[in-house]
Symmetry: C2
Subunit: 348 residues, 2 copies
């Protein structure tokens, strides 16, 4: 299985997870109903860190919970164990093998905090350290660049959110069942053609800026990481708000702008920024389900319509993955063998 096969397998991977035993998520939701928490702490690295950013918006917008992204080195370097009082502690790692991420979870469990591991390896050290384990069910991921383990990590977070909202918001659970078909709709040939054309147009750029906002900030971050690790492009991801605090100076000839700008509450400010950048001559590539927003770009890539805001990041990264794959090839590189990287990174 190559990278593109794994990208194409994502609807099936999501289906597998949705069909898997819901008991761990239900048990965790049960515990959180009995013993409510004041905040969420998440430990993660790499692509999983972007799943954590998605979780920050999901738990913030849907559950009013502040989310702290743990700095594992506080424990691994400075030997200090945070006090996880009244916090739900989540670790996200496809391999479950990073000792520093395991360390955060083990400390939280010793303290009696509710702990959950979101991992593709239910026999891993991370899973062993957690009270609750959500198995990604992504199947073996061979490519070095994470794709199906990323989208299934987001799906696991969305399922957890739906379980927590169960009594007040039964619609969420139903919305989640539509994720596999939305993923399939993001993988139609017409969208892949657009990613291939955009990649051909941008093959010469070795730098770019990627914009996203709100729920889609996670997509901007993950898209940038794929472009770095696969296509060796210096892709700099920003929320539209932070972008105006300095990095705006980077835009100029030879620095294209990519934007994930689907319809939804976050679109207004971002569309206005894109219009301004376009008027100033920036080379814009827009990823969106909205025709008027797409028209702002010199080129655009489609997204399936009708995906709820809070679930859309699971879907919108998919054409971005295909774009990264085709850009890598257009730049004469091998998407199966990123330079210097290995699949499992055991950071301490």
């Amino acid at each position: 299985m190559g990278l593109r096969d794994e990208i194409l397998e994502q609807p099936e991977a999501a289906r597998r997870q949705l069909a898997s035993d819901p008991a761990p998520i239900e048990a965790l939701a049960e515990r959180l109903r009995a013993e409510s928490v004041d905040s969420v702490v998440i430990a993660a690295r790499g692509s999983s860190d972007h799943a954590a950013i998605y979780a920050q918006y999901v738990f913030g917008v849907r559950h009013q919970l502040p989310v702290a992204l743990a700095a594992p080195s506080i424990t691994s370097i400075y030997g200090v164990e945070p006090e996880f009082r009244r916090a739900l502690v989540i670790a996200i790692s496809q391999s479950g093998a990073s000792p520093d991420v395991v360390g955060v979870l083990a400390a939280a469990r010793r303290q009696g905090a509710p702990t959950v591991a979101i991992t593709n390896e239910p026999a891993s050290a991370l899973a062993g350290a957690a009270e609750f384990v959500i198995d990604l069910q992504a199947g073996s991921e061979q490519a070095v660049a994470a794709t199906k383990t990323y989208t299934t990590s987001l799906l696991a977070i969305a399922r957890l959110s739906a379980a927590l909202a169960d009594s007040t918001d039964r619609a969420s659970g139903t919305e989640i069942t539509t994720v596999p078909e939305h993923l399939a709709a993001a993988l139609v040939a017409s969208i892949e053609d657009e990613t291939r054309e955009a990649a051909a147009a941008l093959a010469a750029a070795d730098r770019c800026v990627i914009l996203g906002r709100g729920f889609e900030y996670a997509t901007a971050r993950e898209w940038a990481l794929k472009l770095k690790e696969l296509a060796r492009v210096f892709a700099d991801p920003y929320s539209a708000a932070d972008f105006e605090h300095g990095p705006l100076a980077l835009i100029g000839p030879g620095v294209p702008v990519l934007a994930v700008a689907p319809s939804g509450l976050a679109s207004a400010g971002l569309v206005e920024l894109l219009e301004r950048l376009g008027a100033n001559g920036a080379d814009l590539t827009v990823l969106s389900d909205d025709a008027a927003t797409r028209a702002i770009g010199a080129r655009s890539i489609g997204l399936p319509p009708g995906v709820p805001d809070w679930l859309r990041p699971i879907v919108s990264i998919v054409p971005a993955q295909l774009f990264a794959y085709h850009l890598t090839r257009a730049r004469g590189l091998d998407p199966e063998s990123p330079r210097n990287l290995s699949k499992v990174t055991r950071t301490r």
Copy 2:
């Protein structure tokens, strides 16, 4: 006053803040002794976001508190107010003018959470919204790129930490009084000469990677922002741990590596990574107080010795600022007029 003048003014700005009325910090520490908190939530953007990362390590390592970096758009875009139960809520903004940052603080105060504004404008909307205000006392900052407001923001966080640790750790307060002299030691002519030489050597690169770890991750982030906004260099900052999860693929000819690698607990892993990168032919510039670590680089920039780990980020950014200033000039750009930027950004 130009950018370099403001960089040179930092020892004096720190002295001003240390001489200012300690009442707000003492009153806040008093409230937090009476009513302890389980976590810290920080709202910030731009350079202030890097002060927030410093705070994440300070409160994590010294007070075992998880720190959440607020996503202001959860309120400004999605209209949801997080519940700041048992959290200390800090907003950092030199201008105090960003409506979305003010929004987070105002919501927290309505809920009765202890709120503090760290700002250079004690008459700003942000200061008005906060229960406690720490005035940076940086003096008017004219340059678009933040320098003295950044280091005085870090100093304010360190003072707050020292006040919280008052009963158990009286040494902290004494250590803080040495910050102005350490800042002055980072501004000696021999160090500025090294920044000028390194800038001349790296003037042709339009991309680079910046590494830091632990407390100095904040420095890597802030250094990268200065290079982006002033010198228009795509500077990609990483903790040494995250770096191996993907971005390692970016290193190759024409992509120099800068590292902030002072002595201290975080240095071991970072030094090992730098040795590996050097052995593979990477072009390394090392910012350190340690002679052996400096020798790993093709060139290096000094730091004053003897600065405590937890205070060093206030000092180590200073030669990095000078490097950004000289690199900007070496690249034929004007450090006083970064492209596209204005001083105050009113993001919503």
